[in-house]
């Protein structure tokens, strides 16, 4: 009923490899896209700036990590370090006078180069040991950032981002920042949607499932692993640069610490490995819910007349954040994307599946 399937026959390969096989999905995506376009006129600017904008940029970043962890199956616990490389190179380039369009690309490419170093670990080991190596590399990158004033911006260890300007237009309004983030997120989403149906995407999945078997099929797993790391690092670099340029306005090493790496991985896994819509849900859950719960607890305690310690209140979001990861993994290890898929599968045949029972 909700997903009308009558008259949909995929009779050739071109139609079978469409991004949206059911028109209802396409309509839903179009509706969400239009809502995204109209958001600055609908939502108050506080929501736009403090919820929608970080949500979109983190989603783009999480999709990049999903490419390497969900598609290519390589664990990555140093993603924030790669984002940091992109952010710092782009901002240094922009401060040097390079136009922002090129500065963003420079940031992405610099991330690609450094991110490919992580891939060399992936060529040696996999699974847990890869996770530990990338974690150690994250610590090394953190150390380099905090110990080299030339990169991190002197004694205060913070680097002011110059005003963002794209296509000759200086961007200073909230709406402008939002559209930049929205555009980048849409771009990455379209890339990831198409990845599924290209040879590259299938090769990555083959490498994930079993690299020996992929090698037998003629898929060079070394090449595709490096490619996956380089591509995801590019996305990470540009996302990191945009995050600083439109949200933080100031680059500091702690914005890209180990905890952030873990947070992005949590977004991807809670959302569902290899699921694009899941990444949107995962980022929303991890980024927004702890703050909302905290606000709820604060108001609830006030209206009930209870005194909650300030320190307790400060640490509740962390506890909620950890609990969310654990609970989602226990309910559905494949993440929110899978939960969404289950609901969709149920609605797909909705009134009629009752007949079988």
């Amino acid at each position: 009923m909700f997903y009308r399937l009558s008259g949909i026959h995929h009779a050739n390969y071109v139609s079978d490899s469409r991004i949206f096989k059911v028109p209802a999905d396409r309509n839903l995506a179009a509706f969400v896209f239009l809502f995204g376009l109209a958001a600055p006129f609908i939502l108050p600017s506080l929501y736009l700036n403090s919820y929608m904008l970080p949500w979109l940029i983190w989603t783009a970043a999480a999709l990049g990590l999903n490419l390497v962890t969900g598609w290519a199956g390589q664990l990555h616990l140093g993603y924030a370090a790669v984002m940091a490389v992109g952010a710092y190179s782009a901002i240094h380039a922009a401060r040097f006078g390079v136009p922002w369009e090129f500065a963003l690309i420079i940031g992405g490419l610099a991330s690609s180069v450094i991110g490919s170093l992580f891939a060399f670990a992936a060529l040696r080991v996999k699974g847990l040991y890869l996770a530990l190596t990338t974690l150690a590399m994250q610590f090394v990158m953190d150390w380099v950032l905090t110990h080299s004033p030339a990169i991190s911006g002197g004694s205060h260890a913070s680097l002011q981002s110059p005003t963002l300007a794209l296509l000759g237009q200086e961007i200073t309004s909230d709406t402008g920042y939002y559209y930049v983030a929205f555009g980048w997120c849409v771009l990455v989403t379209i890339f990831m949607l198409n990845l599924k149906r290209t040879g590259l995407g299938r090769a990555l999945v083959a490498v994930r499932e079993k690299d020996f078997a992929a090698a037998i099929l003629g898929v060079n797993s070394f090449y595709y692993k490096i490619l996956a790391f380089a591509t995801s690092s590019f996305i990470a670099g540009v996302s990191g640069a945009l995050l600083v340029a439109t949200f933080f306005f100031l680059a500091a090493p702690e914005q890209f610490s180990v905890a952030v790496s873990i947070q992005v991985l949590a977004m991807v896994i809670v959302g569902g490995l290899g699921s694009i819509i899941g990444s949107y849900f995962g980022v929303a859950l991890i980024l927004l819910v702890p703050g909302l719960v905290n606000g709820f607890v604060a108001t609830a305690s006030q209206s009930l007349g209870m005194q909650i310690n300030v320190e307790t209140l400060a640490h509740i979001p962390n506890a909620v954040y950890g609990a969310l990861i654990v609970i989602i993994l226990l309910i559905e290890p494949l993440g929110l994307g899978k939960l969404y898929g289950n609901i969709r599968d149920y609605l797909l045949v909705w009134p009629f599946d009752q007949l079988r029972k």
Binding site: Y129, L132, L135, I262, Y321, G322, V326
Partner: protein, 295 residues
Amino acid sequence: MDWIFLSELAINGALTGLLYSLFAIGLVLIYKASSVPNLAQGGLTMVGAYVVLALSHDAGLPLWLAIPLAAVIMFGLGFGIERVALRRLAGRPVVMILMLTLGLDIFLRGTTLAIWGGTSRSMELGVSYEPLFMGDIFISRIHLVGAGVAIGLFVAFMLFFRSRTGIKLRAIADDYMASWSVGISVERGVGLSWALASVVAVAAGVIWGEIQGVDQALSLLLLKGLTVAVLGGLDSILGAVVAGIILGIVENVGSDFLDPLVGGGSRELIVAAVLILTVMIRPHGLFGRHDIERV
């Protein structure tokens, strides 16, 4: 070259390293039984320290009673964590298990701080801060006590693994299916390993809490503990002790050489480098089993 200074660095490094082992033994116990990398060990250590504090300072029990009581509580907590969380993810890909333990770590840290607050508190074990002089070399007493505890735990676990329950745990570590088929309760064994690791976390929490104060920094030991566990081979307790001593010496002596060159703070760098080099050169560590799948 000042040999006395160097040997002082080495001995104190070795003692600190044994304290890392104290942390790593917990990781190894769980990895041995269930091949689960327990990234929540830092959180457990923190909870352990805070429970001891809550019993001794807040409830007013003497320390000799508070520590065993905390060990009992943590034993139950470890069992509970395995029962509620880990068992349901058994057999899932390692990325999900890693994430689950990371989530547990964040949750334990957040809850502990929400209950007891984040200000650093001291353990007040009653070990004097007077340095101990051995010839010209001076040694911190608390480090010596901690190293003693680490070695004591090591001996205890060596004996434990010869007992009937210990042999069952070794069988589980060797082969799940085979242990199942001879009637060993694998679930209970894995639960026991979590419980024991939580008890080890109490020991680590008390000693480290005395050295650096009981606060959030306790969970930052994770990288060092992981490095020690990997260097020793993730499933060898002897490896954890030996690797702890090695890492402690390398870190202490190495940072003394490197700090003037890079302007301080090279300890983290050395630890991360040791971890990367171990995984690259010898992923199964010094004493680990060789069945690590290379790409």
